[in-house]
Symmetry: D2
C-alpha cells in the first residue's frame, strides 16, 4: 500500500523510529492527572486513555497477532475495547461510549503499552519482509495522527471545564504563531502532477500520481490572522446570509455561532482558551479552530475563495505552511487511480470519501515530519476542534 | 447570468415558450383530486398546491413586481406563503410546514395562476430588455424543474398510502425503459473542455467553460438494470460492510435498507410502486430510486466505480442518456470561474455547493428539452425519491 | 361495561340518539372546504377526514362486523386506515401519518358514512340484546368525543396558517364566555362518595363508586379570566422559576412560552386566534388553552392551588361549570374497584392511566349532554390545544 | 420544616451523627480507583466525584456560608460546579455535563471535604438555634440519599463496561435477599391517618398528617421473586400488549426490553450483573431493577394490582420491607396540607411533584435508619437503575 522511507528500510532504523514515536506519546502524557484520561465530552473527542490504548492495539492486532509467531495477547477483552472502526476485525465499543469506561485503569493501559513495546522491539530485531515493515510504519504514522488527536481532544475537554485548566503552561508557545500580510502569488495555469511520488511513507489516499489541468490562479503566501477575522466579525459577517452556504447559515443559527471556537468575549475584551489556559487574544496570530463554513464565508466576504487541493499542492513550494490545517474547496474523493488495499487496512481511508472536505498542510499539533505537501487530511464542514485556519485564493 | 435560446430571442417566441411551459404544468394537474394537492409526508417533498403556486410566485415576485409598471399583486400574503428559499426576499413558510396549509384553496391558487398568466402575457407582448427576457426564461426553466418535482413528489406521497393509488394508469409507460448490456467504451485521456458554451439557456453553475485533464478511462454505454441490481441483493450486497462508505453503512443499518425505494417483496415476488400503481418488477428495466450510497456500493461490488462528472460530460456524445439521473463521483462544487449573480437569483445555485453529489443526464420525469449534456443536477447522498440510476466506469 | 340512559333503552330512543349524533358530526363539516379535511400539523391533531372516518369505523368494526349477520364491509382497507389505537384489532396507520393520506377522497368517506348509517339504522330497528345497545351508546359517546376533537384539532390547524382563516364567523360566540369574580366557597371535610352511580351512560373509568375522605377546603365558584392571567404575565410569572414545577420550567424555557396558546401580541395589543378568526382579547372572558404547568404556576402565584378531582366532584353542585375543561391536581389513575372490560373496548381508558392529569367539567366544544359531574377527562401536562382553563382551591 | 430526632437535640448527638454519616460516605469510596470517580454514562447517573463534592457543597452553601460568621469558602468556583438543581442559588454545571470534568482532582475534592468537615465540627460545638440544627440534619439525610445514589449510580456505570468489573466482591451479599411466598393479608377498610407525626426527622413531603378513607383490600406480605418474574417472561409477558400501559408498551418496543435491567441471558442460562460482578441468577432472590411499567404489567398478568401508597403505609406494620423500593400505584403529588418551605430548601421536593410515581419502603442500598414507613421516594415510570421491586395487592 505504501513505500517506506529510505532511511528506515534497514531494521535498525525502523526500531529507532518505533521507539521515537512511542516515546513521544508517553511524553505527551506527562502533564496529565489520572482523572484527565477519562472524560469524553462529545463523540468526536476520544479520552486520552483510549487514544494511547488504541494505538497500542493497532500493533497488537495488525502486526503481532498476524505475524509474530507464538504471540500471546495481553488481554482478550482489549480487542473489543480499543478497536476504532475496523468492521473487518469485529465488534467494538460504541464510539460515544469511550468515556464511560473507568477500567482498565490507566496503570493497566501503560502495562499494556509496555508489554506490546517489548514484544514489538524483539520482533523488529528479527528479519522482516517488506510488507510487514510497511505495516509497522503505517502503525507509527497512525500513532502520530493520534498524537495530534490527543492534543486537540484534550484541549476540547479542558475547555468544557469552567475552571479553564491548563494542560501545560509552556504549551501556549506552540499554539500561537505570527502571520504577516503580503501580496498574492500568481500561478500560471497548465498541467500539474498531483499525488505522491517517490520512496517515503504515504497514505493510500495520496496515490496515484496523476495529471490535473489548472487555470491561472493567485494564492496568498500567508494565512488569515485573528485581526483580519475580527474585522469580519465586526462587519457583521456572522449575520449576513449572503456570505454563507445554505447549510452553513443553518449551522450558524442553530448553534448561535458568533466567533471562532474557544474565543470568549468578556468585559469588552477578547480572550481565547489555549492549552496554557485562558489568554488574551493576539490579533497578529493565525486564526484557528475555524469550520469550513466559516472559512468559506470569510473568503466570500473578502471577495475571494478557498484554493482547491490541487492549487494548494501545485503552489505549495512557494509559501510556508504548517501552523494550521487549511480548508480547501475540494471534497474528499478518490484520485483517479485510487485502490482500496485488501483487508482491514483497506478501511483506513476509502470508506470516508463522502461529505468531507480536504485540508492541506499541517498544524502546530502535528508531529514533526508527519505531514508533507501531498498529505490529505479531511473533516466534515462544521467541525472546529482541530487546529484549522484559512488561506485565500482568487 | 445566462443566454437565451436562439429561437426565442424574438418576443413572440418567448410568449409561446411561456404558454407552452405553463400549460404543461396544468396538464400535469389534470388527474388529481383536490385532496391530492395537500399532503407533505416528508420535508423533501412539496405538495402539488405549493409547487404550482411557487412557480407562479417566481414570475410575480421576480418579474412583474420588479419590471411591470403599475402591477398590483394578487394577494399580499402570497409572498410569504410561496417563497421557497430566497433569504434576500424575506420571511417565508418553513419548509416542513407546507403541508399544513389548507388555505388558500386549490381554486384560489388556480385563480392566482390565471391572474399572473394574463399579466405576464400582456407584459411579454411589450418590448423588453434582454435581461428581463433572460429572467423570464430562467423562470420557465425553474418551472420545468418543478414539473419534475411535481411528479417525483407526488409519487412519494402516493407511495405512503397503503391503498397504493395510481396517479394515472398511462404513466407507467414513462417510468419503464429497457436497457441492454453491452461493452464498455474506452476513452483516451487528455484535456477536455467542460461547461456550457454557446447561445442557449443554461444555469450559472454550468459556467464558465474550462479545461480539465482526464486520464484514460472506460465508461458503460448503458445504465444498470433491475436484474443486475437484483444480483447485488441476492449476493448479500446490503449486508457486506466492505462495499459501503462508512456513512452509507450507517444509513443502511439505521434505516434497515434492503432494496431500492418503492420495491416491495410479497409472496416471493418483487413488485414496484409506480405512478400507474403497484406493478410486477421487470428485470430488463433500468434500476431507479437509488441513493448515492447504493450506487457506489453497487459499483464497488462490480469491481468498478462511478464516473466523475467530467468523464461523463466528455463521453456523453458516445452513449444514450435521459432515462434516469445518473449519480457521478463528483461533489457539487463551483467551476473555476463560477460567479454568483447579484441579487436574489444569486441564491439559485451557489449556496448549495456543499455536501451534495452531482447527477448528470435527465430522467423520464424531466420535461423535454430541459436538460443538456452540461446540466448539473445535485442531491444529498442518501436521497432516493428522484428518478436516479447508475452508470459504471473504470 | 356501562349502563344505558333510561330514555334510550327502547330501541326507538337509541335510533333517534344515533341519528342525532351522526347528524351533528355532519353539521360540523358544513363550513369546510375539501382542502381543510387533510392537514395534520402535529401528531396530537387528527385531520377532519380521519375523525369522521374513524368514528364510522367504530360502528363497522365493533358493532356491524361482530353482531349484524351477513354484514359486508364497505372496503377491506378501511380497517387498517381508520383504527386509532386498538392493538387487539390489528395493524393501523401510524398516528403521525394520518395527514399523508389524500385517498380515500372526502367524497368516498362520506359514502362510507352513508353506507354504515344505512346498515346501522336497519340494525337498530331489530331486537337487540342490552350488551349490543350499550356498545352502540358507547360508540355514540365516542363520536361525541371526536366532535370535540374535530373542533379543537381544526382550530390548531387553522392557527398554523399565516392567513388566520376562520372556520365560521359565528363560532366566535361559542368560544367566549364572561366570568365574574366572587368569594371562595368553604366546604367542610368528611367522607364523600365519588364515582358514577345510577342508570345513565358513563365510561369505565368513572366506576365504581367509592368513599374518599376530604379535609376542609375552599373552592372558587368561578374560573380564572383573561384579565387575571394578564396580571400573572405582567408580574413576570413566566420568568419566575419558583412558581413552576421543575419539568414545567424546562417546558417554558425550551418552548419559549410567554403567554397562552393562540394569544398574539402585536402593536401593543393582545389578540387571540379563534374559530371566527383573529380577535381582540377580551379581559372578562375565561382564560383558555392553558397547560397544566401554567395552571399550577398561576395557582402558586395566587398563593392557592388546584383542586383535586375529588374536591371538584364533591363541590360541583355548588358552582357552574362547562365553559372550559378544568385541570385538577389529581393524576389519572384507576379508582379502587376499576376493572378493564374484556376485549378491544378494554383499551378505551385503562391503558392511558399514567403520566396524565385529570380534567373535570366540560368546555364550549363539548357536545350538549355529553359530560357530567363524574366525567374524567385526561391529558398530558404540557398540552394546550384543548379548551382548558383554571379553577382555584385552597 | 422538619423536626429533629429526640436523641440528637443535644449538640453532642448532632456532632456524632455528622461524623458518622460523613465517615460512611468515605467508607463507600474505599474500593474505588481514581478512574472510577469520573464517568457519567447517562444523565440520571452522577459520577462519584460529583456525589461526594455535592454533599459537601450542601453544608458549605446552606450552613457555613449562611450561619458561620467569618467562614471563608474553600474555592469560589465550587458553588457553580457542585450545585445540583437549586435555581435560587444560581447557575450550575449542566446535569449531563458532570462527567466531563476531570478537575478539580479527586484529591482536591477530598481536601474540600476535610476543610468543610473541620469547619462544621467546630461549628457544631457552638450553641446553635434549633432551625440551624434542623438544616444540618437535613444535610445529613441528604447525604444519606446520595450514599444510596453513589451505589446505584456506580452499579450502572460499571455495568456499561464489557469487563463487568466488581465494585467489591463482598457487596454481592447485600444485593441478594431470599423471599418466600405466603398468603395475602386482608385489611379492613376505614379511615387511616397518613403522613408523618412525631418528633424525628422527616421530609416536607411527608407532612402533614391527614385522614384517608380506604376500601377493604389485601396485600402480599412478601415481594416478588426472580423465579416468579421468570414465569412472566416465559409466559410471553413482554410480548402481550394487553398487560401494558400504552406508554409502557411503547417503551418496551422502542428499547426492546425483554428482561429486568442487568439480567443477561448467555448459553441458556440467566446471569445478573451485581456490584460483586456477574453472577448466576438466583430464583429465590427478590426481583430488582424493575420499571413502574414492568411492575404494573406483572401485576396485571397476575390478575392483581400494585398497592396505593396509602394502602402500603396503612398496612406496613404487618409485613417486612427494606430489601427493595416498592412501586406503588400512586402519583407523587402533594398531601392536602403540603407547604413548600421558604428559600432554597423549598426546591427540595415540591417542584418534582408531576409525572413521577411514589415508591415506598427502602432498599439494600439505603443507609440504616434513613427510611421509615411514611417516607416517600419517587421516580419516573421508565427508570430502572434504582433497587426497585414489586409488592402485589388486590
Amino acid at each position: 500500500m505504501q513505500g517506506i522511507k529510505q532511511g528506515i528500510t534497514e531494521t535498525s532504523g525502523l526500531l529507532g523510529f518505533y521507539q521515537n514515536v512511542r516515546g513521544k506519546t508517553e511524553k505527551l502524557c506527562e502533564p496529565l492527572n489520572i482523572e484527565d484520561y477519562i472524560p469524553q465530552p462529545i463523540v468526536d473527542v476520544s479520552p486520552p486513555k483510549w487514544n494511547i490504548a488504541h494505538t497500542t492495539w493497532f500493533f497488537e492486532e495488525m502486526v503481532l497477532k498476524q505475524f509474530s509467531e507464538g504471540y500471546r495477547e495481553f488481554d482478550s477483552n482489549f480487542g473489543f475495547l480499543f478497536n476504532s472502526y475496523y468492521n473487518s476485525i469485529g465488534e467494538r465499543t460504541k464510539r460515544d461510549n469511550r468515556g464511560d469506561l473507568s477500567r482498565p485503569t490507566v496503570e493497566q493501559v501503560f502495562e499494556y503499552r509496555k508489554y506490546v513495546d517489548e514484544k514489538m522491539e524483539a520482533f523488529l530485531k528479527t528479519a522482516l519482509p517488506a510488507s510487514v515493515k510497511e505495516l509497522v510504519v503505517l502503525g507509527l504514522n497512525h500513532e502520530q495522527q493520534h498524537q495530534e488527536l490527543f492534543v486537540t481532544d484534550l484541549k476540547y475537554t479542558l475547555s468544557c471545564n469552567p475552571l479553564f485548566p491548563a494542560y501545560h503552561p509552556d504549551f501556549i508557545l506552540a499554539e500561537i504563531g505570527e502571520v504577516e500580510p503580503s501580496e498574492m502569488i500568481d500561478i500560471e495555469g497548465g498541467i500539474f502532477e498531483i499525488g505522491f511520488a517517490g520512496e517515503g511513507f504515504h497514505f493510500d489516499n495520496e496515490l496515484g500520481r496523476h495529471r490535473v489541468f489548472l487555470e491561472d490562479f493567485s494564492i496568498s503566501p500567508n494565512i488569515v490572522s485573528n485581526g483580519e477575522f475580527l474585522e469580519f466579525i465586526e462587519d457583521g459577517g456572522y449575520a449576513d446570509h449572503r456570505l454563507w452556504h445554505s447549510e452553513g447559515w443553518d449551522w450558524v443559527n442553530e448553534n448561535k455561532v458568533a466567533h471562532p471556537l474557544y474565543w470568549n468575549h468578556q468585559n469588552g475584551e477578547w480572550n481565547q482558551f489555549t492549552l496554557g489556559g485562558l489568554r488574551k487574544l493576539n490579533e497578529n496570530n493565525a486564526v484557528c479552530h475555524i469550520s469550513y463554513y466559516e472559512a468559506a464565508a470569510f473568503a466570500e466576504w473578502k471577495g475571494m475563495r478557498l484554493p482547491t487541493e490541487f492549487e494548494w499542492e501545485a503552489a505549495s513550494e512557494m509559501f510556508e505552511w504548517g501552523l494550521r490545517w487549511e480548508w480547501t474547496n475540494s471534497a474528499y474523493l478518490p484520485y483517479p487511480k485510487f485502490k482500496k488495499p485488501e483487508g482491514a487496512v483497506g478501511e483506513y481511508n476509502g470508506k470516508f470519501m463522502i461529505n468531507q472536505m480536504v485540508l492541506r498542510g499541517a498544524s502546530v499539533a502535528t508531529p514533526d515530519g508527519h505531514s508533507r505537501k501531498t498529505y490529505r487530511n479531511f473533516f466534515h464542514p462544521p467541525l472546529r476542534w482541530q487546529f484549522t485556519g484559512i488561506r485565500l485564493a482568487r
